[in-house]
């Protein structure tokens, strides 16, 4: 099994000028990124919505790769979104899943059927043409060059070690360095959009 930070580190060389939505990997990604103006570290605006947000970005900007680091708790809340993404077939969309098997920010309670869900199989069944699953960082690192060469939508499920937060929310270290408004303003600047 791999650690989320190592998974994200392995991806860095292949990022180039892609838009990155780091999802629940945000606290690691802000330390790794070289292009914060192309990142959307929004934290958790409302659970289950990262996939939709990533799809929207991919449809709005077909000229750029959009890389989403989703989580299995979010995916379980919005499985139907996989069908919508598969129907839209965004060729620039790379959907990575950070699967730690638990609700890590609420104390580590397991997500339903945590040990038996095959998210790559679900994504394939929803209509993603290319899906992968990894449990070891070495396998993931070796496959990344090919994954990022493939046309999207691609789904990549990664089983990671759970890093559970038990500190009361008010005492946790805040990893966000920008407000959500600032993140979106910077992203629009990075994308040179006028809206």
């Amino acid at each position: 099994m791999m650690r989320t930070a190592d998974m994200l580190k392995a991806f860095v060389p292949y990022r180039k000028d892609a838009i990155v939505v780091p999802g629940r990997g945000g606290r690691y990604w802000v330390e790794l990124t070289a292009h914060p103006n192309l990142d959307a570290p929004l934290g958790d605006p409302a659970m289950g919505g990262h996939a939709g947000f990533g799809l929207g970005l991919a449809l709005a900007r077909p000229d750029k790769k959009v890389v989403l680091f989703d989580s299995e708790g979010d995916i379980q809340m919005s499985l139907g979104m996989l069908v919508t993404i598969a129907e839209q077939q965004p060729a620039n969309f790379y959907h990575f899943l950070i699967d730690n098997g638990v609700y890590a920010t609420t104390g580590g309670q397991p997500v339903p059927n945590a040990e038996k869900v095959a998210y790559d199989v679900i994504a394939r069944g929803a209509g993603y043409p290319r899906t992968f699953a990894f449990t070891e960082i070495g396998d993931f690192e070796r496959a990344l060059p090919e994954i990022m060469r493939l046309p999207g939508p691609v789904f990549v499920a990664c089983k990671v070690v759970a890093e559970i937060e038990n500190e009361p929310i008010g005492r946790r270290r805040r990893w966000q360095t920008r407000t959500r408004d600032q993140v979106l303003a910077d992203l629009r600047t990075g994308l040179a959009t006028t809206r």
Binding site: A40, A46, M47, F53, G56, A58, G80, L184, R195
Partner: protein, 172 residues
């Protein structure tokens, strides 16, 4: 206001308002009355339809589209809007997304006595979220759709258009 039928809101009028206001993507979940509008939207080359299977998804998709520089419209029914509460809060209000939600007003009656709780809670729901809204019943009201688009852009907030002619116009 009485309960007499009014001239219908035609799907052609709704489509013209979308084009006039530069809509690029319609994020939607069909209800039983929108088939004619669907056929028109599908034939319109300037629009891309993004079908969702749960209305809350429309909020996050629209937020991503807007963040990327596109101009989405959300087209859903009031029942689904109410199901979308947390997504509305987090992805639209929380991120200050300027977007219009066209919401089929299931159960709407002109006299205020309704038999459908979907109608009972629609406006209360919007008020609770502080989302401004405009009622559109017929082609004569269509300019309110543009007013909603202008307001969304000006305030950087979602604005709703309640379609009170759900049972006539879209279904012909």
């Amino acid at each position: 206001m009485n309960d007499a039928p009014v001239i219908a809101l035609s799907p052609e009028t709704v489509l013209a308002e979308m084009k006039k206001n530069g809509v690029t993507h319609v994020v939607w979940l069909p209800d039983s009355e929108t088939n004619w509008l669907y056929l028109l939207m599908k034939a319109e080359p300037s629009l891309r339809l993004v079908g969702v299977n749960r209305e809350g998804h429309a909020c996050s998709v629209a937020a991503g589209l807007s963040a990327g520089g596109a101009k989405p419209l959300i087209l859903i029914q009031n029942t689904g809007m109410m199901e979308s509460g947390d997504s509305l809060r987090g992805w639209l209000l929380g991120l200050n997304i300027p977007v219009v939600l066209m919401v089929g007003y299931r159960g709407w009656t002109r006299h205020g006595v309704n038999a459908d709780s979907a109608a009972t809670y629609t406006e209360r729901f919007l008020m609770a979220f502080g989302i401004n809204y405009y009622l559109v019943e017929s082609d004569a009201d269509a300019s309110r759709i543009s007013i909603a688009f202008d307001e969304a852009e000006r305030t950087k907030r979602p604005v709703a258009v309640l379609v009170g002619d759900e049972y006539h116009g879209f279904n012909r």
